[in-house]
């Protein structure tokens, strides 16, 4: 692949990101987006941020984590508590930074012992760790216990979520395509062989885990500042599972799939709002049926790539 294909693909992605922003902004100005749809778009954005991070841990590093909501809670509560006194956008970004650092510290503490475990054991251990975080939040004074925090200043618009979604995805995808990403994938394929090749398996597993925790904290901060109310129960096992469902439905190891699944599930959820009580029944049936008929998720491990597209076109034009 030559340089021009790379430049072209980067430009194309930039175009997609700016284009998406302009389209949503245009619709917003034209008043075609009501608060209901805006809420849906923001939910999609936050879910993408959360699921991209989890996909890095599960799909690329091959570590089955069921504790994503715990790290999300840390970010959400950092924002919820800090913006009470610093109710400015700067305060929000500061609180997000603090949340990310705290989540990363927690991820190191949880990860160093538990990442020695494999598969389902790791899943249960991380789930336990996330529950411990939630129960601590539930019983601390500063987090206002089970009642949670409300009247969190609304410092986040859809634009903030959009930009952060793009940034998180960019950084994650670049990490995946870096040396670190290749090391992480080598560990996924065969831990022993990777170790024999000189890869420090513990370090790279932990790196992916900590990276995922940081993105979860971003998602949590955005959630707290947009929804304006948080309670410990928002971050229970079911919340972790909801993120996991996005990852698996889209295809484990496909960032494109994560985007597709986050959009499909949010749209499905929004449509099903009208169905009242049978909403969750349809949702669960849809989940079971998609899994039975498309076991690898909607996109499997397929990834959309402008680079490949341009390269292929160049190859055909040379012929």
């Amino acid at each position: 692949m030559n340089l021009s294909a790379r430049v072209k693909s980067n430009l194309a992605w930039l175009g997609v990101m700016v284009g998406g922003f302009v389209i949503i902004d245009g619709l917003e100005v034209a008043r075609l987006i009501n608060p209901f749809i805006e809420n849906m778009l923001v939910t999609i954005g936050i879910n993408v941020i959360l699921a991209v991070g989890l996909n890095l841990i599960i799909g690329f590093a091959g570590q089955f984590s069921l504790g994503h909501a715990g790290f999300m809670a840390i970010g959400a509560y950092a924002t919820g508590i800090m913006t009470q006194t610093m109710s400015t956008p700067v305060g929000f970004f500061l609180s997000m930074g603090v949340g990310m650092v705290l989540a990363m510290v927690a991820a190191v503490i949880v990860g160093i012992p538990t990442l020695r475990l494999r598969g389902d054991y790791l899943a249960i251990a991380t789930m336990g760790a996330a529950e411990i975080i939630r129960i601590l939040i539930n019983n601390l004074k500063i987090t206002n216990g089970a009642a949670g925090l409300f009247n969190i200043p609304a410092l986040v618009s859809w634009a903030t979520v959009y930009v952060l979604m793009c940034l998180t995805t960019l950084v994650t995808v670049n990490f995946i395509h870096s040396r670190g990403g290749r090391a992480v994938m080598a560990v996924r394929e065969d831990e022993l062989a990777a170790g024999a090749m000189g890869i420090n398996t513990t370090r790279w597993k932990l790196a992916a885990f900590v990276f995922g925790a940081a993105t979860a904290a971003i998602g949590g901060s955005l959630h707290a500042a947009y929804i304006q109310t948080i309670a410990p129960d928002d971050f229970n096992i079911m919340a972790s599972i909801a993120i996991l469902i996005i990852v698996v439905l889209g295809g484990v190891g496909s960032i494109t799939g994560t985007f597709v699944a986050a959009i499909v599930l949010s749209v499905l959820d929004t449509i099903l709002q009208n169905f009242g009580t049978i909403r969750m029944i349809i949702y669960s049936l849809a989940l079971i049926l998609i899994m039975i008929f498309k076991p690898t998720g909607l996109l499997g491990s397929w990834e959309f790539s402008f680079k490949r597209w341009f390269t292929r076109r160049e190859v055909t034009s040379h012929e």
Partner: protein, 292 residues
Amino acid sequence: MQTFGQQLINGLSLGSIYALLALGYTMVYGIIKLINFAHGDIYMLGAFWGYYSISYFHFNFWLALFSAMVVCAIIGVVIEYFAYRPLRHSARITALITAIGVSFLLENGMSYLVGANARSFPQAIRVVTYHWLGLRVSNIQLLILGTACALMILLEVIIKRTKMGKAMRAVSVDPEAAQLVGINLNQTISFTFALGSAMAGAAGVLIGLYYNSIDPLMGMTPGIKAFVAAVIGGIGSVPGASLGGFIIGLLETAVQAVGLSAYKDAVVYFVLIVILLVLPAGIFGKRTREKV
């Protein structure tokens, strides 16, 4: 000493419920390596069957218990047939998501059908409290403990002494080799689901009698804790699941007794993580050495 004895009895009754549930998890996991998230909801269905059979069909307790076991066994087999069997050869995470989907379906289906409110379980047996050495023991607690232990022994006998049990053990060691020697894989897996679900159904009726309150979401938390119990005991091991169940039950009661009830779940998970770190395969789990 007296309080200790009292808490021990409470812990054992609660623990035997967890143990019954954990048996289902451990058998299913042992045989198809699936965390059957819907297992806790089968326990919920068992409790509801008990409720309806006692209040509307006027079954006595034993008949309700037995019929709940049969009904839950059938439900377990049906779920396996429709939801898990098509996914037997796909990635395990896919089967896990399907199990979560089935769990959502059962919870929300029941909420839709019978309403989400908690209802009180009919008292099929008159509560008699015995006082003995200053301890209060109700006949319900003894009944739970006795029934649970009897069922566990029955299960152990089925697994260790019958032909089907031998087939189950063979499939859990190596499904392909088991098929080569003529074991019907599908039948064996269905049988495992039937056994596990029957245990869950029994646990549901017993818990209804004990706590006197049932609702469609009652299976979620005990389900996860029972899985934790199975992991602590060493997943795939029947005595391990029983022991794990009793450990969780005693631990929870002990934490509550010292006045930290807000942290009881946190302590359970903390102990889980510690046990997994010291004994990665659980207490009775087989240690597997990694081959290169």
